[in-house]
Structures are given as structure tokens and as C-alpha cells.
Amino acid sequence: MRRYSYTRAKLTDRAFKYVALSFTAFALGVLVVLLIDIFSKGIARINWDFFRNLPSRHAEKSGIMTALAGMLSLLFFTIIIALPIGILAGIYLQEYGKKNRLAKLIEINISNLAGVPSVIYGILGLTLFVRILKLGNSLIAGALTLGLLILPIIIVTTREAIRAVPDSLREASYGMGATKWQTTSKVVFPFALGGILTGIILAVSRAIGETAPLLVIGALVYVPFIPEGPRDQFTTLPIQIFNWTTRPQAAFIVNAAAGIIVLLLITFLLNGIAIYIRNKWYKKIRY
């Protein structure tokens, strides 16, 4: 009897393993097919001119220079805006704020904000930054909008990373006469930094892919110049790709594929850098 049920448990175990495996394989398979499709269409289109050219009515002469520059400047300003606020807010809420009902409410709200559709942020940005603050459809309006969008992600992951710091370390620090600020900055924050970096990776990856809120605030589809300051108009790579895919000519689809390859590489690169920093950090604080 025992033996029978043991064999059964083993069978179930194995069956589950194969089912799980096949689902994983399916997901990966779809991804691979997509990648092969994109690469076979677009890879030949990637050359120096593709990076250097302005957008154009002629697919073959079209390039991503302004879109790329716009996207990178946009990311730069977004990070500058959202990172300090998000990290400080996370530290405050977790380490300094009182743990009462209001705090609980704020916590739930922030988590909810992380799940709000990005178009909503676009509408908020349009009203607040573009219209009320009269920033127009500028780079800075876009960065503020995206900053708001990724703020909850940064706050939530910062809080989680800080919560994971064992109290025994805080006690050790306080026990030596350290102030709250010294304890937070010299013990808690460094310990949590690995986790905070993970949050930043997630946030930046999300910001890179966003198109909808930028379209809502009026990011242009055709920008024949590189933004030179935060008040300039801009476009981004995902918008450029989106624009190309709406064209009927096949040559533009090739451009779109090539653009997607560049976007993917940038995402991988950014993630890679962040993971590298994180691993190095963990090595430093562990072994």
C-alpha cells in the first residue's frame, strides 16, 4: 500500500516535471520564432548609415539617429528625476516613517500605482506637465511622465530591499552609538543596494519600452533633429518603430525589424550592466 502510493507520487512528480518543461519550451519556442523572424528581416538593414541617417520618406534612406538620441536623452532625464526621489521615498517609508494605518494605506496605493496602465500616466503628463506647467511636448515633459511611471516600481523595490536587511545589523550599529542616519547610510543602504539595483533594472526596462504615454503627451513621430536641451521636442525608438510598422511599404517593415534589433540590444546591454554591478556588489558584501 505504502509502496503503491510512493510510486504514484513519483509518477505525478515526473508528469508534472514534463508538463512544466513543455510549457517552458513552448514559451521559449515562441520567443525564438519571433527573434528569428525579426533578425532574418532586419539584420541586413543594420549598417552605419542606419544609425546616422535622419528619418525619411524613403525607407532605404531612413535612419534612427534622432530616435536613438531622443530615447537616450529621455532615459537620462527620467533616471535623474525618478531615481533619487524613488530611493529616498522608499528609504523614508521603510526606515523612518511610522508604521500606522496611514502608512499601510500609502503602501497599498503605491503598489497599485505600479499596476496602473501607462496611458493613464500619459494623460496625467499631458494635463500636468504639458498644459498646466506649459512644458509642451518637450523632452522634459516626457521624462517627468516616464519618471512618474517608474517611481512606484523604484519605491516598492527599494522598500523590499530595505526590509530584507536583518534587524541584527541595525542593532549592532545602534549598539555602538551610531545615529539613525549613520546606521541607514553606512549599514542599511549598502546592504540593500543589490536589491535596489534590481528595481532600477526593472524600472529602466519598463521605461525603454514605453510608447503609449509618450504619444499621449504629444511626442512627435517625425523629428528631423537631435534634441539639444530638455525643452526640445523629441521622438524615441519605440515610436519610430511603431511608425514604420504602420507604413504599407515592405521596406519600412524591414526598417522596423532593424529598429527592434537595436532596441533589444540596448535593453540587453542595460540589463547586463546592471546585473554585472549587482553581482559585483553581492560578492563584495558576501564572499
Binding site: 545589523l169 555602538m176 553606512k186 558576501r286 564572499y287
Partner: protein, 248 residues
């Protein structure tokens, strides 16, 4: 004159009273053991001496707590904690290098001079009987040390801020017998320079290392006397039962 003293000390965690009218005086340059069954308030009293209980919400205290005859609530809490160092039950080194662990206390008081810090780190590690084992690997992570070494590192870290009192809450309970005996030898050495209060569940340990022993029961101080007397001829029946292992 006492180094540490409480007069009619009471402490409540919310509604629950953890210390009841405790009056105890601890002599300088001695080792005092706190013993008693789990939950009787040993750690709580220990944490009163460096005001670590201030960090716990909803605690209320009454009575007097004195360090060198000064009310510790009239002192700056950060200054107090530099004078009254603490070693915890579980080794809790920072995830930093061995050197930085010991230098931490020096850095938070604004120590900048590199040579001075280096000298003090070395001295503290020697005082904690760890120098010979870590000399040459000071830049390695503290967490790569063994549990016993980590605990001595925590002691060195505390000694570096030059306290006059060292509070130890079951400092050897997570360690093997060899590491434990190293810590005991160390405590014996340290009492030349420091006043030491140690919480322990190990009767032999209390008997071996301490000059005086205090027995607590349900938040009350039942008996406090010379260690010899506590273990051979206690006045209170409860103490007698506890030290002979009849309850606990």
C-alpha cells in the same frame, strides 16, 4: 561606588511588565552573570543599561538607571552607547571586510587619521584574541570567518569604541565548546580593563567566569551575591533549585 546601578527599575512592554522593582549595583572591573529561566527579563535588563529598549515601540520604564552615578536618561544616548558596548547572542558582523567591521565605530565618531584607525583596529583585534587568526586577511569579508571568530570580531568591534562597560547577551550560546572556551578566556582577560555583564544559560559558565551572579525569576531579582555563594550556599530556595538544575 557602582559602575552600573538600577534603583527600583520597572519596565513594561505594552501591558506586560517584564521587570519588577529591580535594584542592583554592579562593581567596576568585575564580571557579573545574569541567570534565570527563559523569559525572566535578563536580556531586558541588560538592554536597559545602554538604552537599546528605547528602540522598541511601546516600552515604558520607571525607576533609576545609573552609569557612574549619572542618570543614563540625562546623558546623550549615543554617548551612552559608546561607553556601554554590547555583544549580541548571534554573531552579527556587518557585511563588510574584517577591518571595516572593527573600524566602524571609529568612523562613526569621525575618525579620519588612517594610521590611527589602523593601530586601533589592530589593538582591538589583539584585545579580542583574534589578531593572530586574521592578521594578513583583514580585507577579507567578515562573513567568511567561522562563527566563533565572527563573535570575537563583534567583541573587537565593540572594544574599538573604547567602552568602559561591555554587555554580553549569551555571547557563546551559538558556538562550539572550543570557541566558547576562547570567549570565556577572553572575558577573563577583559575584566582587567572593562566592567562586564553577561547573560548566560550555562551554569558552569557563570560559575567559571563571574565574580557575582544575579538570579532572576519572572521579572524579579531573586538573589544577587558572590558567585561562589550563589552556587554553594544560596539563600533563596528558588535559586537553589535553579542552580542545581531542579527547574529551569
Amino acid at each position: 561606588m557602582f559602575k552600573l546601578e538600577t534603583r527600583n527599575a520597572n519596565l513594561w512592554y505594552g501591558e506586560k511588565q517584564a521587570l519588577k522593582n529591580i535594584s542592583i549595583g554592579i562593581e567596576p572591573n568585575s564580571v557579573t552573570s545574569f541567570i534565570g529561566p527563559s523569559g525572566c527579563g535578563k536580556s531586558t535588563l541588560l538592554r536597559c543599561f545602554n538604552r537599546m529598549n528605547d528602540l522598541i515601540e511601546n516600552t515604558k520604564i520607571k525607576g533609576e538607571f545609573l552609569l557612574d552615578n549619572t542618570d543614563i536618561y540625562d546623558m546623550d544616548v549615543y554617548e551612552l552607547r559608546k561607553k556601554v558596548g554590547m555583544v549580541f547572542q548571534k554573531p552579527n558582523p556587518f557585511p563588510k571586510s574584517i577591518f571595516e567591521n572593527v573600524a566602524y565605530g571609529l568612523r562613526i565618531v569621525g575618525g579620519k587619521d588612517r594610521n590611527e584607525i589602523k593601530d586601533k583596529v589592530e589593538l582591538s583585534l589583539k584585545n579580542a584574541a583574534l589578531w593572530d587568526e586574521v592578521n594578513g586577511i583583514l580585507n577579507k569579508p567578515a562573513l567568511s570567518l567561522s562563527g566563533g571568530q565572527q563573535q570575537r570580531l563583534c567583541i573587537a568591534r565593540t572594544l574599538a569604541i573604547e567602552p568602559t562597560v561591555v554587555l554580553m547577551d549569551e555571547p557563546a550560546s551559538a558556538l562550539d565548546p572550543i570557541s566558547t572556551s576562547k570567549i570565556e578566556d577572553l572575558i577573563y582577560e577583559l575584566k582587567q580593563k572593562f566592567t562586564i555583564v553577561i547573560v548566560t544559560h550555562n551554569m558552569q559558565q557563570a560559575a567559571r567566569i563571574s565574580n557575582k551572579t544575579a538570579f532572576f525569576y519572572l521579572g524579579e531579582l531573586i538573589e544577587f551575591d558572590n558567585t561562589d555563594k550563589m552556587f554553594t550556599n544560596p539563600q533563596n530556595e528558588r535559586t537553589q533549585n535553579y542552580v542545581t538544575g531542579r527547574f529551569g
